[in-house]
Symmetry: D2
């Protein structure tokens, strides 16, 4: 009876990196109990076959995906699946009364057509999409608290938007000048065997990919537009870095008022994130290391003003699998359940 009163939760797609992060976080979360792990290819296997280090701690099997069964057992369901599957499952779960948090791209867009034009597929579920909330608590805290379905943000959009939000919200920059040069560890590619993600290929090297056409671009632009109150186009370039975890977004934009001072900017950011326990604005001259956020749900933000060029440079660092994925989903869960936003989420990174 030790778990009496704990909310029963399930994870569909438990075998990937999103899944294992969720298992790890929810296992130590005081408000929930994991009662279901689901997957297709691994159905029937003990979870610890996939992650042997958790075998002394997690004694659960991966079960086949049966939506009725899931709905019967779980009050909250996390969907951590490849793009294009969640929107086929969520309606049933919602109809049965479950709260649903989707970690894929399926529910990140206000308009279902934006989704289909970048991700393909044929969707007729604008009605559900319209009731979905974009799960970035620092921007949509109140709406998340009321939502039944959350579309959890992508990893790059999380780092990018937390860097840009105060600037756009307060009209401090010319939006069309915004450039996001983002760098990510390779775990962002998921636990799928791809040649370019092999250590032998990706270690000791660095490169860009998806230049001018990465699918996180419309997601970033959608929220930037919402913040700015007008259509925003951004330049977004992702790079793969020879490390496992972490994203650094280096964001450039031209200031509307070239006289804006560095210390004013820090004040503005601190005010904007005053009630955001997971965003930490660094003092002048300090720039974030991705390692600082590693294993935590934190976003560290460093700021610089270049009076020579009239630009602001914002640096934001997150753990792509935590604040950029599973941690943020748990943060949303906390809000949806009326719990403390920090409940059950690690704050202090180990160093080094």
């Amino acid at each position: 009876m030790g778990n009496m009163g704990r909310v029963p939760v399930g994870i569909v797609g438990a075998s990937g990196y999103g899944g294992v992060q969720l298992v790890r976080l929810l296992k130590e979360h005081p408000g929930v109990e994991i009662v279901y792990l689901g997957g297709e290819s691994s159905a029937g296997k003990p979870f610890s076959d996939l992650y042997p280090h958790l075998s002394p701690f997690v004694d659960l099997k991966i079960e086949a995906i049966d939506l009725e069964e899931i709905a019967a057992r779980c009050q909250v369901v996390f969907l951590s699946l490849p793009n294009g599957l969640a929107y086929q499952m969520a309606p049933t779960l919602l109809a049965r009364g479950c709260k649903v948090l989707d970690l894929s791209a399926d529910y990140r867009f206000f308009d279902v057509n934006t989704y289909t034009s970048w991700y393909g597929g044929d969707r007729q579920d604008q009605e559900i999409v319209s009731k979905t909330v974009y799960g970035l608590p620092e921007l949509y805290r109140d709406r998340i608290a009321q939502a039944q379905l959350i579309g959890c943000p992508g990893c790059y959009p999380t780092a990018s938007l937390l860097a840009l939000a105060p600037l756009l919200k307060q009209g401090l920059i010319l939006p069309e000048t915004a450039i996001i040069d983002a760098k990510s560890g390779t775990s962002g590619g998921g636990r799928q065997a791809k040649v370019n993600m092999l250590l032998a290929e990706a270690d000791s090297s660095l490169g860009a990919y998806g230049v001018a056409r990465h699918r996180h671009t419309p997601e970033i632009e959608q929220i930037c537009s919402d913040l700015a109150g007008s259509e925003v186009t951004v330049q977004f370039t992702p790079h793969l870095i020879p490390m496992v975890r972490g994203i650094l977004a280096t964001v450039y934009a031209t200031m509307r008022d070239p006289g804006l001072q560095h210390k004013d900017l820090i004040t503005i950011y601190n005010a904007f994130y005053r009630n955001a326990p997971w965003v930490k604005v660094l003092s002048s001259g300090t720039y974030p290391q991705t390692k600082w956020a590693c294993g935590t749900n934190l976003c560290y933000i460093g700021l610089e003003v270049d009076s020579r060029t009239g630009r602001v440079i914002v640096l934001s660092a997150i753990d792509n699998l935590m604040k950029g994925q599973a941690g943020q989903a748990v943060q949303c869960l906390n809000l949806m359940m009326g719990w403390e936003e920090t409940l059950g989420l690690p704050q202090l990174s180990f160093y080094p």
Copy 2:
């Protein structure tokens, strides 16, 4: 009043990796409150100058080392200093009634002469040394619980001894055949600027050091002898691995009974570590990855019997800065205070 009842603790030598691990662990430990951080070179600086990512969470200054002052404020003191300093400080702290946990080599030896022959110096404190307990809880749990002064084990000895202990205790191997081939991340070298520890030198490379003469050898031999009940000499070779954290010890020894079966060995290890919450014996055919222990106080052990050669091969993996250093010190603290051995220590590693 939130900290009422918490034990006031201090850390002398807070600026290094041992120090920052202790700060991180003790900050989240429900039984203690950090009331003092001390250091020589960094005295007067805010701790967060050294570790900016902790600035939102740790608001303490590094103070000069004043033993009377420390003793007045702290019930427990961790000494995390270069070798040769602790034995000059501990006596005063002990005399004032403090419990002391030393992370250096100063109090690891039963005989002060063993220390001086490998580490140098001139010591006349055999009396104190004799009352010190070697802080490896899996072997000396009861004595640690009664001790006022703990000599916390080295990182390599921890991994090596947990691998060897059941074999030696039960007389299953010929002790003189024991070979420990150990591999460590570079954080074991501490936060000191050395050319050979630069990323540019140490990354993408691998090498041995201190072959046949590393100072952890006598420490391992002392405890092996204590376990075997007779003088034991071991072969110990450390290697530097291009990664930050983690130790893997690969231990070889010839079995006394060449008919010993793999499954019996697993049974023996499981029995030996039955009451050890921080040691996990893996099932047959599974060998530990150092990453599994990363950020936790766990030691994972894998076992193999080679019937062709008559040898047992034991693989043990720890996080060198946790079970190999600060985590183990906190585990000892828990025992000394009569708390649960697992209190305040992370169990579940993140993966990947």
Copy 3:
């Protein structure tokens, strides 16, 4: 006509890491011209589709594997394929007069039954196998020079045998005490997409695999037995290191004469490798870093004698893709063609 007089060579299996190393080396080799690249899955593609950085320098297509065609065009053929394919191709090439160097395990064993008991399959080609030469030039230089078919050694056996050869040949150790603890970068796993070889999995971690049953064991034992003149059994444990290239073998053995001195050992090794341009014995107290051999065909050897334990410890470092694979094949080619053993092979590593 710039290539007049160059020997026409072909590479079957050009798409993997063995293939691309061969292309790189042979492209700069003054004695040969690459006239054929072959592969199954990539047939029809330009080689530079697989390795775009070589597109300005290598203008060759990967062709389907047609043995008659290959034999018609090539004087020398390198087979760089998964195990079990070469022995189906080599006979045709040999019958047409080609010299053949096989980089797989197919021709590494003196006895075809040793092969089949470790690698499976049903082979009836002992006659060809008996005429094959094991391509470790430091041990079989003269026979390689006369051979038509070479079975190029595995990467681990190369590092292990160069470390052990002088000891076994001169009867300096008790052979049954030999333990090889080997550490390799992940490129040894080849260019195949496997989850455990992903950077996200393998970086920042370390583990053993194939303990007591790796298929390089019988290969090492075969040559050790040949050197010792009697059946030798060794302990061999491979580990995966978070880096791309390099193998370090740490070899332990008990000395027959416990009075053997370190300086005598260095003299013995220097004498043994006097005519071996690719083996460098380090001076006393210096142990090799794998990085030193990176990108070269060198093997660096460090030596230590432990008078406390009566053991010798030998450390050998190679680049697993060079001396451990493609470089050694080219070294064999040089001998087969009567060229300088060093021709066209890089000697000086870059550092760092």
Copy 4:
């Protein structure tokens, strides 16, 4: 007499990474013989004490720095010293008739005041500075061929300028929109023991530094202005990447003609670098990996046009210690001596 006819060269500052690269390259260069290695702190030591892997190949001592002696023995002198020393040595060497290539910042600026305002010091040597040539052969080939003194470019400026040159020279972009987001391996920091460059600190992490004030900014701007024919200000942000070697510069700029096509851009770049053997423009859709350039003197350039934003994105990859340092110096030497620009410089990278 094997080296008869070879040009005698010396390296002042042989102990650092620039020095060891030069030793490695010049040792295999058919046109020169290294006759002198100089250094302050290592004077008297064999070079192989610092780099043991080269001991079988380089039998030279590091000598004290005696300019008259150097001038007497060397026809060409490479200065590879910390900033601020070369301009105190070069005049003597030049007066004695030596050709001098300086790898520090001392001779990179057309105007000595630009140097002193960013690097400090008090210099009165505008006369010599005015005769110095900036050693970027792709832009100043003819002048380098005639020069006696070369100021070799910084690593970041090399990658940045090769990316930007065709755009600026042909007026294709609005210069003030140029943003250079650069990423470098840590070897760029040199062989000096600094805490932030330790593997334990820098591995598995990523961060920016010197934002809006890095000293390579004025160097980049000087050459950009020379190319554009008017004063250019750029945004330059360097980042430290957890790897040893390699720089990737991601360059953004707004196109003057938003209708410029991707394929036209590739044509323009190919034309611009038609006679540049060390610059390789990649085909459409291919972006460079830094690893491709590793160990070579190559610069790989990838191009993208974003019609949504009206920007061009250029990606350039070099080995920071080769094309970004020692390799480029040797390329300049080749031009100064009337040799082939590619003489003695590696072209084909190993992969992986």
